[in-house]
């Protein structure tokens, strides 16, 4: 993915697809395509078509093109009896097709899926629409192209060469119009060998950009191609906002190319696609490569550390430097603010991720004949970009589970005295340094007996089920190899269920809680706001420093010798308030030289991950601090995945501390 143009294409197209999907689903839920919907859809597919054609992904462009045709018809004729749902199916199919192709391009493969069948279906759908609309194919053409002067079609030059004039206007926010104009000229060379254009000096004169912006880019050319073909030629050109294509019937008009001529009011000009893209909500947003932001974040992290290295420099101790400290305080304040802002750059609203679930719910609803309303709350809640990306899969899985297993069929619901259609709520909210994501359905709840039975079959029970709390029972479903659904449905129950969800959530430092009864299930995901900065406890073993995330620390204490014992294998254990914990000597674990090997000289830290705990023995605690998490160098990651290390960080004095990962230490 080196090519920035390709990257931009992929990014923009997938965004367009997402919005397109959103509009389609919205229209379907209302049961009717409003005029705005149709215009929006038309605009999206038009843009996709244009950029795909520019990137020469032909099958994407053709699919988008035929979809555009379909919506062109709908927009122009507003047929009243469109079957919304089948139309949605068709558009979504086209969306899926393009999505798949994008995925291929992303992976460096050629987008080579055959589009002909889909195209055929779209065009036959269009045909049937037209028939319903009670139009003969021929008549229809007259209507869609009615704006075109009929005289024009009759003019045929003897050599079959026709003269055209085109005035092209580029997108408002497009830059380097002269370059785009040059691209058009370049492409035109293949079609026509007799043409000229205004402004003439598009490549040499930078002012031509302004002229094009003001007056448009004007080309007169002769070609044996038909109007139709030329129309398509221009409409497939990227960044073209609108264009007028006119067939010229006399040579004089062809030869005179004046600025005046472009101030059009004459009847021979056909306004096409005017203001198609318009000043659509292109707000004050720029897209920046995430790597740049990561770099900036790293640098700011360094700056914060350097700042404290300067202002708390040991050389300054005891010196009466009032002005210096005043200036240093100001510096500290500003660096703190910068850090806050940089962190906020990485934050994205969770909305788009939630909206993607719309599509899943819609598809499943149709397949499973269930009625489900998806309610989305708090879509503006912002979460770190990396976390959002990791959240999508688990969320999708939970939504599928809820619709598939949770919500009952309408019939069952009615007999239970619930409303016919179930409600699935996705909610996000801030809670201190965490974000809560709630997936709530009002379905039948988790089947406790079923879970226990299944766990027993799979030998996952390690406790008497009667002694288990509800929470413990629900947690069984997170065990690998557990899937309660008897039948493997299309959507869930492939056995790679909740354990994967749990892993994904834990990978971003989150946790899952389940509550359930016969009135529904609530799943709560607790996600940290960001992964880049953590609260850590710094500790020392020998010469090495380590940082332990405070979230995994339960307590720290100096032990009593009598609580410590060894099991027959020589493993050291400690009893704390009646519970037995294994002892991990960090100096043994990582083979670090240290003087402190006696338990009463060092300190114990009880660490916790999920339900597992252990007692870590270290030399001393150095204090709590917020640290910026850095990955270990690539080279080291390549050599070996080191057990129990999550990364590293720089301490205030510039030295490096290794960040420990409790889950890696305990296992």
């Amino acid at each position: 993915m080196e090519d920035p143009i390709l990257e931009a294409f992929l990014f923009e197209t997938s965004q367009q697809l997402g919005q397109l999907e959103q509009v389609v689903i919205e229209a379907e839920s209302v049961g009717n395509y409003s005029e705005n919907n149709v215009t929006d859809i038309f605009r999206f597919v038009h843009t996709i078509k244009g950029s795909a054609a520019m990137m020469q992904f032909k099958n994407i462009a053709t699919v988008a093109h035929s979809t555009e045709d379909l919506f062109y018809f709908i927009r122009e004729n507003r047929p009243s009896n469109v079957d919304t749902s089948s139309l949605c199916d068709l558009v979504l199919e086209a969306v899926d097709f393009i999505k798949l192709e994008l995925e291929k391009i992303k992976n460096g493969d050629k987008p080579d899926n055959d589009e002909t069948r889909l195209i055929k279906r779209i065009s036959s759908y269009l045909k049937s629409l037209k028939q319903i609309y009670n139009l003969e194919e021929k008549e229809e053409q007259n209507i869609t192209h009615s704006e075109r002067p009929t005289a024009m079609l009759s003019i045929e030059k003897p050599a079959n060469e026709k003269a055209f004039k085109a005035i092209i206007r580029f997108d408002e926010d497009c830059e380097m119009r002269n370059i785009h104009a040059y691209v058009i000229v370049h492409n035109l060379e293949e079609i026509s060998n007799d043409f000229f254009y205004l402004p003439k000096d598009i490549t040499e004169n930078e002012k031509s950009e302004e002229i094009i912006k003001k007056d448009g880019f004007i080309i007169n050319f002769k070609t044996d191609k038909s109007y139709e073909e030329m129309y398509n030629f221009f409409s497939e050109t990227a960044y073209v906002k609108s264009f007028e294509l006119t067939q010229l019937d006399n040579l004089k008009a062809y030869k005179t190319l004046e600025y005046e001529s472009c101030h059009f009011t004459g009847s021979d000009k056909i306004p096409h696609q005017e203001n198609l893209v318009g000043e659509h909500a292109r707000s004050n947003i720029i897209s920046v490569n995430i790597h740049k932001i990561d770099k900036l974040l790293n640098l700011v992290g360094e700056m914060v550390i350097s700042e404290s290295m300067v202002s708390q420099n040991p050389d300054l101790k005891g010196l009466p430097l009032h002005n210096f400290y005043k200036a240093a305080r100001q510096l500290r304040k500003i660096t703190g603010e910068i850090q806050g802002i940089v962190m906020s750059i990485r934050m994205l609203p969770i909305g788009p991720t939630f909206f993607k679930m719309n599509r899943i719910v819609r598809d499943m609803k149709k397949k499973l004949n269930k009625e489900v309303n998806l309610k989305i709350i708090g879509e503006d809640t912002e979460v770190d970009k990396n976390i959002i990306e990791n959240l999508e899969d688990p969320l999708m899985h939970l939504v599928r589970n809820a619709v598939d297993h949770g919500i009952e069929t309408p019939k069952e619901r009615v007999t239970k005295g619930k409303g016919r259609s179930g409600t699935l709520t996705l909610e996000a909210k801030n809670a201190g340094n965490e974000v809560f994501v709630v997936i709530k359905d009002d379905g039948q709840g988790l089947n406790k007996k079923g879970i226990i039975k299944k766990a027993r079959e799979n030998n996952l029970l390690n406790k008497n089920p009667e002694e288990m709390t509800d929470k413990e029972i629900y947690n069984l479903i997170f065990l690998p190899g557990f899937s309660t659904n008897e039948k493997v449905t299309e959507y869930s129950g492939r056995g790679v269920g909740m354990d994967v969800v749990l892993n994904n959530v834990q990978a971003v430092g989150g946790s899952i809680q389940i509550e359930s009864d016969e009135n529904g299930t609530t799943i709560l995901l607790k996600i940290p706001l960001t992964l880049a900065i953590i609260d850590g406890m710094n500790l020392r073993v020998g010469m090495s420093r380590y940082t332990l995330p405070t979230t995994s620390i339960k307590e720290s204490f100096r032990p009593n010798q009598e609580d410590i014992f060894k099991d027959p294998d020589g493993n050291e254990m400690i009893i704390i308030r009646g519970n037995c914990y294994p002892i991990i000597r960090l100096h043994d674990f990582y083979n670090v030289q240290t003087e402190i090997k006696e338990f009463d000289k060092g300190i114990f830290i009880v660490i916790e991950n999920d339900d597992k705990s252990a007692c870590l023995f270290v030399d001393e605690l150095l204090g709590k601090q917020q640290v910026v998490v850095k990955a270990l160098p690539e080279y080291i990651q390549k050599i070996k995945k080191i057990k129990g290390l999550a990364g590293c960080t720089l301490l205030g004095d510039g030295s490096i501390s290794l960040i420990l990962d409790a889950s890696g230490l305990i296992t």
Binding site: P633, K640, I642
Partner: protein, 168 residues
């Protein structure tokens, strides 16, 4: 167009760097490293030990906020460890985007060695270090062993794999 210009600049740079080697010593021998890999040379710094790594990777250092691993080339070549002193240097190299610091006894200077003065190493000599030598430079002065940087970095991944499969 600007792309082409960029290419030209890059090519120019490569041309001026061609045939130039940064030389350093390990004990008696002089070694040469293609200058295009070298980012900078720094004195020995405080090294943070990272557990579970091969012996020749001493740990990581903080290079102005960038954390890079350091490799003791002596140990890498199977030579005995030598205490670091104020002449010990870390050569920071960038090999295909991977930054690594190489700890060497001393850094000498940059030599130009023409291609025709480079001969292939004899196959006869066995031993660890020979695997990382891709040529021998015959200059006016002492012979220089030219290091295959990519090998130096990437070979041990295979070694690790070998060790792993042996262990299991």
């Amino acid at each position: 167009m600007s792309n082409r210009a960029e290419n030209l600049v890059v090519q120019d740079e490569e041309d001026t760097q061609k045939g130039k080697y940064l030389t350093f010593t390990l004990g008696e021998e002089q070694y040469g490293l293609e200058i295009k890999y070298v980012i900078e040379i720094i004195g020995i710094q405080e090294i943070t030990v990272v557990p579970e790594l091969p012996e020749y990777i001493k740990g990581i250092i903080n290079l102005r906020g960038q954390i890079i691993p350091v490799m003791d080339v002596r140990l890498r070549f199977g030579k005995p460890f030598k205490e670091y002193n104020d002449r010990t240097c870390v050569i920071v190299v960038d090999i295909k985007g991977v930054s690594v610091g190489l700890i060497v006894d001393t850094v000498s200077e940059v030599y130009s060695i023409k291609d025709e003065d480079v001969v292939a190493p004899p196959d006869l000599t066995k031993g660890l270090s020979n695997r990382y030598i891709k040529g021998i430079g015959k200059g006016s002065s002492k012979v220089k062993l030219l290091i295959d940087c990519e090998r130096l970095l990437n070979d041990q991944v295979n070694e690790e794999l070998l060790n792993l499969s042996k262990g299991e």
